[in-house]
């Protein structure tokens, strides 16, 4: 049912959710729990496979290691000790957990948005934010030809695997040679892209392209959508405010 919802509503509410999550101060676990419940409800409404959601959202988590040193640098109640006098503190653990939970909740919502909304619809929704036309056109073209060029890149890699064999570590040519070959492939991809762009431009001109993208005008939001948006904003603002007032 989330799949049919107007993309403008989904984009705005997702961004508001992430903003509210980021605004929540550390230690405001009740607020984070409520936000998590909200996220869970949305994921259930989106009718996505749990495994799919977990695998895709877990991909963003390794970056959380960047926060791990806080475990040792934040002073507080000692938790456990590592050799060389490294002391983990309870406060440090809470800080790290806070960052990881916030990151995961944000990724979860961003992922649910893209899993339920075609990218072109998101792009149309972003036009409402007065994004410059030129930028929107470039992004739309990038998206349109991304998978064409990904296939091109896969063909290049398949050709490399077929011709130079699977490179076994420690054997074969040097690292610099491998890097140079990869560079040559990247250059080739760029040239093929430039060729394709020429053809695309010719085709677009043939159909009357004059530099101005033509788009279908968006219908105004219905009263129901506006009400949903207002309700969402209100709820998220209340959550963030509660966090800031009681734990900030």
């Amino acid at each position: 049912m989330l799949h049919q919802l107007d993309a403008r509503v989904k984009v705005n509410l997702t961004l508001s959710f992430i903003l509210a999550t980021t605004l929540t101060p550390p230690g405001a676990w009740p607020v984070l729990t409520l936000l998590a419940a909200l996220a869970l409800a949305v994921v259930i409404l989106a009718e996505l496979r749990a495994r799919f959601v977990l695998v895709r959202t877990a991909l963003a988590l390794p970056f959380a290691l960047a926060a791990l040193p806080l475990l040792f640098t934040v002073a507080g109640t000692p938790l456990f000790e590592l050799p060389w006098g490294w002391t983990a503190s309870w406060e440090g653990l809470l800080r790290v957990a806070n960052i990881v939970v916030k990151t995961w909740l944000s990724v979860l919502m961003a992922f649910t948005l893209t899993a339920t909304t075609p990218f072109t619809a998101i792009l149309v929704a972003l036009r409402g934010w007065r994004l410059p036309r030129l930028l929107v056109t470039i992004v739309a073209l990038t998206w349109r030809y991304l998978f064409v060029l990904v296939e091109e890149a896969q063909r290049l890699m398949r050709a490399r695997a077929a011709r130079s064999g699977q490179i076994v570590e420690g054997r074969g040519k040097s690292l610099a040679w491998r890097a140079r070959v990869t560079g040559g492939m990247a250059g080739n991809l760029l040239l093929r892209g430039a060729d394709r762009a020429e053809r695309i431009y010719s085709a677009m001109s043939a159909r009357g392209y004059d530099g101005e993208p033509r788009v279908v005008a968006q219908p105004p939001l219905t009263a129901g959508h506006r009400a949903l948006l207002a309700l969402g904003y209100l709820f998220l603002a209340l959550l963030a405010l509660t966090g800031i007032l009681f734990w900030g």
Partner: protein
């Protein structure tokens, strides 16, 4: 599938709202100015070229070569885009790539997108341009028109762009209190000094190939130097500023703390970030320099572990899909 294991895309939850907003504002100004310049300098013919080449850079990030132990080197592409397309178009191309990575593939957050665009599109492109042009001029003086001067300049530009962009990323994390400065900066710069070599090698290889296959794409006449002087100066300023600021912030994290206090960051930030962090001497280690180095080594190990974890998960996901 398209996830790049360059640990430079900051996810949401890591940057404080203030840092996010500030870098969004900087990015909006930078990208807005690039749009204006592209509108003036280039015709509508360039629009599909920028779009398709952005897709090519994005797809080019998939190309990799094995390094060791399951890790691989691959491309970010800011330097390559800058050299082939010129700085203004490259800013738009990289913004398009980074934007799609954030919105569709959750590679980098949405609130953090401003900072990511700033690091990879604006800093990456400006620093690439400055380094490439300076190297070109230097080599012109030294060896005249050697064919290898373009790939060599490309290598240096690739390496420097990655290194400086990583410093910017580390400083943003430290300013947000998500990672202590004396760990984040040595760790990020250490790991990206290595990743930058891969970037440089691929950039050089790509330029050598383009030079051999389609020389006219890289003719110096195509890019007038005078009109881009502002970018050159901008790149210089960013590179010098970050190169000086980061070791300072790393060696004297209290300096960053001081800046944060002066600017009222502490009042505006969601929490008194620096009050609960002691003065950055790792517990139990008296010698400050030793503590910093140790922290750096551990940080490098952690980021390496993160990279390996991403590579592993990616391989798992790929094998599931196949």
């Amino acid at each position: 599938m398209l996830l790049s294991p360059v640990p430079m895309h900051i996810p949401d939850g890591f940057l404080s709202v203030l840092v996010s907003v500030v870098f969004w504002a900087l990015s909006v100004v930078g990208v807005g100015y690039a749009l204006k310049r592209v509108n003036e300098d280039l015709g509508e013919r360039q629009v599909p070229i920028m779009g398709v080449l952005a897709a090519a850079i994005f797809a080019g990030q998939m190309l990799n070569f094995s390094v060791t132990g399951g890790t691989s080197g691959h491309l970010l592409g800011a330097a390559l885009a800058t050299i082939v397309l010129g700085p203004w178009a490259a800013v738009l191309v990289m913004t398009s790539v980074v934007g799609i990575q954030a919105v569709v593939f959750q590679d980098g957050g949405l609130l953090a997108l401003g900072a990511n665009i700033f690091n990879m599109s604006i800093v990456g492109v400006a620093v690439s341009y400055f380094t490439y042009k300076s190297m070109q001029r230097l080599l012109q003086q030294l060896v005249k028109d050697q064919p290898w001067s373009i790939p060599v300049s490309g290598f240096v530009a690739g390496w420097v762009s990655i290194f400086i962009a990583a410093l910017a990323c580390a400083l943003q994390l430290a300013l947000s209190g998500s990672s202590p400065a004396n760990v984040a900066i040595p760790a990020m710069s250490g790991i990206h000094a290595l990743i930058g070599i891969g970037e440089g090698l691929i950039t050089a290889g790509a330029l050598a190939f383009i030079l051999a296959a389609q020389r006219d794409l890289l003719q110096p006449a195509a890019a007038p130097v005078g009109s881009h002087r502002a970018v050159w100066v901008g790149g210089l300023v960013i590179a010098v500023l970050l190169a000086i600021l980061s070791p300072l912030a790393s060696a004297h994290p209290d300096g960053l703390e001081w800046v944060a206090e002066q600017r009222g960051f502490l009042d505006l930030a969601q929490e008194p970030l620096y009050e609960i962090i002691p003065d950055y001497v790792l517990p139990g280690i008296g010698n400050e320099a030793l503590a910093t180095i140790l922290a750096g080594v551990i940080g490098v190990g952690l980021v390496l572990a993160a990279t390996l974890a991403v590579a592993y998960v990616r391989r798992r996901v790929q094998s599931v899909e196949v």
